[in-house]
């Protein structure tokens, strides 16, 4: 197998009789940011589960294909070994341990790390540097954090294992635009420190801005793949994920607000 990053080859996944992925091949080179786009049910989360080996929790299984990381085959390993190999996932919907404190959440993130006490301590200070709020709230229950803070905690928790590859499942989901932008900046910062990122997003504009290359999943298959800027410029992506959804719609919406008809007899009272 070539490539020292993540190489997914011809992966098919089924949940019982339901096929969720068909012959998906994908590559995340070392140190790169790669985005996976697609609508609901396209198989984005399934792809991440296949990599992190948590398909079993959903009664799914990899039926064909292989997954390698750093030249090593990882599609037969237990989830903890995948973490040990350097792949950490931030699950969709954050999934922080709500009843545990912020500090204990971060400790939980380090459980799978093979590193010594020293590496864990430096991972913690790195996380606190990225997200100072997590240091301030260390003793607070994670369930009491805001959505954005929970997302930071979820990312910080995954970083505690000092991963070489970070899998992010819809990090902007349910966040206010400003907070989504902050998370995006953080992803860039994390990547700048040498961690590769596989970013699964519905927010295509955000994902294509961060990524160097991208894949578009459609009903379990790779429909499009290529460099991020080329995809961002391609008609199909613009039409399906960018044009209508973001720019035009946003423009329409703002025009709509300006053009909001006002009843004449009310206008005087404003």
């Amino acid at each position: 197998m070539g490539g020292s990053g993540l190489v997914v080859q011809d992966a098919s996944v089924g949940y019982g009789p339901v096929r969720a992925l068909r012959q998906v091949s994908l590559e995340v080179p070392e140190g790169a940011v790669v985005a996976v786009l697609g609508g609901n049910g396209a198989g984005k989360s399934t792809l991440l589960r296949a990599i992190s080996r948590t398909l079993g929790f959903h009664r799914g299984a990899l039926t064909t294909g292989s997954i390698h990381f750093g030249g090593r085959r990882i599609d037969g390993l237990h989830p903890d070994r995948v973490v040990g190999a350097g792949v950490s996932q931030v699950p969709e919907g954050r999934r922080v341990f709500a009843r545990m404190t912020v500090a204990d959440n971060l400790r939980a993130g380090a459980l799978g790390s093979a590193g010594s006490r020293g590496t864990k301590a430096s991972a913690l200070s790195r996380v606190h540097e990225l997200f100072p709020v997590l240091a301030e709230r260390a003793g607070q229950r994670a369930g009491l954090l805001s959505g954005g803070e929970q997302q930071m905690l979820a990312v910080g928790r995954a970083l505690m294992a000092s991963p070489k590859l970070l899998l992010l499942d819809e990090p902007s989901l349910g966040l206010a635009p400003l907070m989504a932008a902050r998370i995006a900046d953080t992803i860039q910062e994390i990547n700048g420190q040498g961690t590769a990122v596989l970013l699964v997003e519905q927010n295509a504009a955000l994902a294509l801005r961060l990524a160097s290359s991208a894949y578009v999943l459609d009903v379990g298959e790779v429909a499009l793949a290529g460099a991020a800027d080329e995809l961002a410029a391609s008609d199909e992506v613009r039409r399906r994920y960018l044009g209508v959804v973001d720019e035009t719609a946003a423009a329409d919406a703002s025009r709509g607000v300006d053009a909001l008809p006002v009843l004449e007899r009310w206008a005087g009272r404003r």
Binding site: F57, D80, R95, F97, R99, M100, A108, L111
Partner: protein
């Protein structure tokens, strides 16, 4: 007044022993979401190890071996039986534990027969008298030992990596797995800890004033069920409070039985279940239980 103080002290002591059992119960439930009906047989196994070994190797070594033995039995149940059913529904697993309980209890009662085995404890039937209040040394030992074990357990639960892994797995197994927590190990550890705690409880359930280890000991262990349930199945604090409530209720109901004759005899055995029913009517999740935990 003297009687009341004595009954309270005895009740607290028995309660701390029930709390030990309930704690094991809660640990398994939190780690695996399985209600472990085999707990009483684990306890019997621990007691049996101590009873059959103390003559040869002395009391304290026998206790250590008993604790280790029950922990191994617990781990073996997890490894040989529960693990095979992983992914099954939790109620299926609960019923599997009933099967395990029947098997283990049958074998142990066969070995016990009609014997009443002494566990060879050093306290015997001596009694400490302070003023007009007298209390058996065994009850003091029970309270101290249970208190120590529970403190060590709670500290470990709160501060060690084991505790963090345990709590993470209890909250969300899948997310814990993503963090590199080995769920099999967590579950194995929970069963082993529960077994060890049950062995200690077995010791203090069978010392003076109880005659010794016999078939009925596993029935005494059943009182930890209302303790765990009224405290809230998923709460360690609940297990402690529940244990104490059950112990004190039982002790008081037994002690003041003569004044409650209109209710008939044997109220002491019944009282814990009565309290549990009343508490569950008011708080269906138990005193400290998490509300959304509806499935059992």
């Amino acid at each position: 007044m003297t009687t009341f103080v004595e009954l309270m002290l005895n009740g607290l002591s028995m309660g701390s022993v029930y709390a030990l059992i309930a704690l094991g119960f809660v640990v398994i439930f939190r780690a695996t979401e399985v209600v472990n009906f085999a707990h009483a047989s684990l306890l019997l196994a621990g007691g049996y190890f101590i009873a059959s070994l103390h003559d040869d190797i002395g009391f304290w070594p026998a206790v250590l071996v008993g604790i280790a033995g029950a922990a191994v039995v617990g781990a073996a149940i997890e490894f040989l039986v529960m693990r095979r059913y992983r992914g099954s529904d939790h109620s299926v697993l609960a019923i599997v534990t009933i099967g395990v309980d029947i098997l283990l209890t049958t074998e142990l009662t066969r070995r016990l027969g009609t014997d009443v085995l002494s566990l060879g404890d050093p306290w015997g039937d001596s009694v400490l008298t302070v003023g007009s209040v007298s209390i058996a040394y065994t009850r003091i030992a029970a309270f101290v030992a249970a208190g120590l074990l529970i403190s060590v357990f709670l500290l470990a639960f709160r501060y060690t990596s084991w505790g963090v892994a345990m709590r993470a797995a209890a909250e969300s197994p899948e997310t814990a797995a993503l963090m590199g927590v080995r769920l099999g190990r967590v579950s194995l550890g929970a069963w082993a800890v529960a077994g060890g705690l049950a062995a200690v409880a077995a010791l203090f359930l069978t010392v003076f004033p109880t005659p010794g280890l016999e078939r009925a000991t596993s029935l005494a262990a059943l009182k930890a069920f209302p303790a765990a349930i009224l405290g809230g199945l998923d709460s360690t604090t609940g297990a402690l409070v529940g244990g104490l409530i059950v112990g004190v209720t039982e002790s008081l109901a037994t002690g003041y039985q003569s004044e409650l004759t209109f209710l008939g005899r044997g109220l002491g055995d019944l009282a814990p279940y009565l309290v549990m029913t009343v508490i569950l009517l008011i708080r269906p999740a138990g005193l400290f239980g998490t509300k959304e935990l509806t499935r059992v």
